[in-house]
């Protein structure tokens, strides 16, 4: 009888450890190869739309690729001021690589995860029906400061400067 209890306790301990192992949070770092834009002017001209927007919410979607699963975050972004692009809706969906699936958080090394409340200057490509994605996670998704400035490759620009880049006549 005592032996049965010992075995039952051992099995319970193994099951507990196995359960903890499965629930333990993990972080995985992805690496992406994006085109690098030589200047703010170049990326602004390449972008399908350029907007100042506020992130209202985020959701993570699991995308199947063969026998693998990819984590993709979809952010709902309210457009505060459009700089480029016509007939845009009030809220757009902006995709971003990575996100948390179960206990595993996937992160792309150069990507700052979208979070509700962020005010961003977004230089986006249209990648699907009503869906957009930054042309480059570092250069196409820029936090806007309280002074209405953004930092692009270490240089500070006023939003008005970026807006002026949309005008083909601007040097």
């Amino acid at each position: 009888m005592k032996r049965v209890r010992v075995w039952a306790a051992a099995l319970l301990a193994v099951a507990l450890v196995a359960g903890l192992v499965r629930l333990w949070p993990r972080r995985v770092e992805m690496q992406a190869d994006y085109p690098h834009y030589a200047s703010a002017r170049q990326i602004a001209r390449r972008a399908d739309i350029v907007v100042v927007g506020r992130v209202e919410g985020v959701a993570v979607r699991a995308v199947s690729v063969g026998d693998k699963t990819l984590a993709v975050t979809e952010a709902s972004v309210r457009i505060l001021e459009p700089f480029k692009g016509e007939g845009l809706p009030a809220v757009i969906t902006v995709k971003q690589m990575g996100g948390r699936l179960g206990t595993v958080t996937y992160e792309e090394i150069d990507t700052v995860p979208y979070q509700p409340g962020q005010r961003l200057l977004l230089l986006l490509a249209r990648v699907g029906d009503g869906q957009y994605m930054a042309l480059n996670p570092e250069q196409g998704s820029l936090p806007v400061s309280a002074h209405d400035t953004v930092s692009y490759d270490g240089t500070t620009y006023r939003l008005a400067d970026i807006k002026a880049l949309m005008n083909p006549g601007t040097r």
């Binding site: 995985v28 690496q31 085109p35 834009y37 390449r46 995709k95």
Partner: protein, 180 residues
Amino acid sequence: MATSVLKASLSLGICAALALGRVQAATTDWKHYAGGYGKTITYKWADVESASYADNVDNAAVRWNTFAGSPVLAFDSSHSANTYQVGNQNFGYTWYGLYTPYTNFWGRVTSFLIQINVYQLMLDGCDMAAVESSMAHEMGHAFALGDLEDGPQLMSHGRNRDTTLGPQDGDQTGVKSIWK
């Protein structure tokens, strides 16, 4: 009409600028990446379209396998735990290539997914040389090399994609150091 002409010229301009490369000094020649898989990598195709690019991916693998003193090996195998996807359909992403590792509880990489976005490369006016450059670049991550911002290395975002099709001096030094 004018908009589409402007867009086409911009696309060509972007790839031309990428092809020319940016003349900036590299701060480092290689960087270790903890999400690498190992010194020998195998891969299977995600779908039929991916398999149609087998020759291009094989070219990328051969460049890794055959440089002088190469310690690494890459080849395709239908029994592989790793998946390679190459597609000219719209994936819905702006990246040219993506490497995703999958780990066990201890953080050991047990398999990986490589994706090459031919659609986006072609949209930016790139040719098949640039596609093969991306194919070899993503393999570099599986061999535990990280991204660099600038410089002539294969692992650099700012490389000349039309001529940098395989591992350069820094990339070769990197894998030799990691897998000595």
